[in-house]
C-alpha cells in the first residue's frame, strides 16, 4: 500500500497523536492544543524535516516554529529552563531534529498496519520555508506545545 492511500488529514492526526504522547514524556509539557488545520505552509519559520520513504512513495513531515520557539523546544528536550544555558544554532538544529526524528518513529509505528516497509531518512533543519510545487499536497496543523506556537507539516506528491 502506498502512503497515498492515507489522507493528509490522517497523517496530521497521527503527528498530533504522537506529539501528544511526546510532549509530556520528553518535553515536559502537559498538553498540545490544536488551533487550526489548514493547507498553506507557513513562511518565516525555522524547523526540522524528515522523510518517510516506502518502495513506491515518499512523504516529508516537519516541525517548525519561530526561532524562539525552536530554542524553547530544544531546551525542553534537554530538560533545561529558558535562560539556563545559551544554546548554539547547531544545538537547536540537533534538538529539533531529534524531536522530529522521534515523532517520525512514533508515526511509523502507528502506521505500520497500513503501510509496509517505511524507512526514515535523517532529519534536516531549515532556516526558511519550503515552497511546495503545484503537484504536491500539503497539510498543516497549527499547534501550541506547552508555551510554544508551532506547526506540524506534511508534504507529499499528489496522486
Amino acid at each position: 500500500m502506498s502512503s497515498n492511500g492515507i489522507s493528509i488529514r490522517d497523517w496530521l492526526d497521527s503527528m498530533v497523536e504522537a506529539m501528544n504522547e511526546l510532549a509530556p514524556t520528553t518535553l515536559g509539557f502537559d498538553d498540545v492544543e490544536v488551533k487550526e488545520i489548514k493547507e498553506v505552509f507557513p513562511v518565516g519559520m525555522s524547523g526540522a524535516y524528515i522523510a518517510l520513504v516506502s518502495m513506491d512513495s515518499s512523504l516529508q513531515i516537519g516541525l517548525v516554529s519561530e526561532p524562539k520557539g525552536c530554542e524553547t523546544l530544544a531546551l525542553s528536550l534537554m530538560g533545561m529552563e529558558p535562560g539556563e544555558e545559551e544554546l548554539s544554532e547547531q544545538d537547536i538544529a540537533d534538538s529539533v531534529g531529534e524531536i522530529i526524528n522521534i515523532l517520525a518513529g512514533m508515526i511509523k509505528r502507528q502506521m505500520a498496519k497500513k503501510i509496509n516497509a517505511v524507512n526514515l531518512g535523517l532529519p534536516i533543519f531549515i532556516n526558511g520555508h519550503i515552497e511546495p510545487r503545484q503537484r504536491q499536497e500539503t497539510g498543516v496543523a497549527e499547534v501550541k506545545i506547552g508555551p510554544v506556537d508551532a506547526q506540524l507539516l506534511v508534504l507529499r506528491e499528489a496522486e
Binding site: 544545538d91 531534529g97 531529534e98 509505528r109
Partner: protein
C-alpha cells in the same frame, strides 16, 4: 562498569545520560560515539561493557554496527535505543544478538526494566 552511548544527536546522548542517572545507573562511566564507525573505534579502544545504540545514523547505522561486531567476534552487551521499533526491526535486532530494544520516547522506568537484567 563502562557504558557506550551511540547516537548521532548530541542532544539525545545527553538525554540518555540523564535518563541513566534517573534510573539509578549514574554511577557507571559513560563514553560516547556519534555513529557506528566511531563506535567501532571506541569499542576497540575503550572496551565498554554495555552499548546503548541508536538505529538510524549516518555512515554506519546501529544494526550494521552490531553485525560488524559479530563478524569481528567482539563480545559486548548490546541494545538499541531508537525512535523506530517495528516488530520486524525488533526481530532483526534480536536475531543479531541485541539484548534489549528501547523505543523513544522512553522513561527512567523503561531504562531500569531493560538495563537492570543486563547490568546485573
Amino acid at each position: 562498569m563502562k557504558i557506550l552511548i551511540v547516537d548521532d544527536s548530541k542532544a539525545m546522548r545527553m538525554i540518555v545520560k540523564r535518563t541513566l542517572r534517573q534510573a539509578g545507573l549514574g554511577d557507571h562511566e559513560v563514553i560516547e560515539a556519534g555513529n557506528g564507525a566511531e563506535a567501532l573505534n571506541a569499542i576497540s579502544a575503550s572496551k565498554p561493557d554495555v552499548v546503548l545504540c541508536d538505529w538510524n545514523m549516518p555512515e554506519m547505522n546501529g544494526i550494521e554496527l552490531l553485525e560488524k561486531l559479530n563478524e569481528n567476534g567482539k563480545k559486548v552487551k548490546f541494545g538499541f535505543v531508537t525512535s523506530e521499533g517495528t516488530p520486524e526491526m525488533r526481530e532483526k535486532a534480536k536475531g543479531a544478538g541485541a539484548l534489549f530494544f528501547i523505543s523513544k520516547p522512553f522513561t527512567a522506568d523503561t531504562f531500569q526494566e531493560a538495563l537492570n537484567p543486563v547490568i546485573s
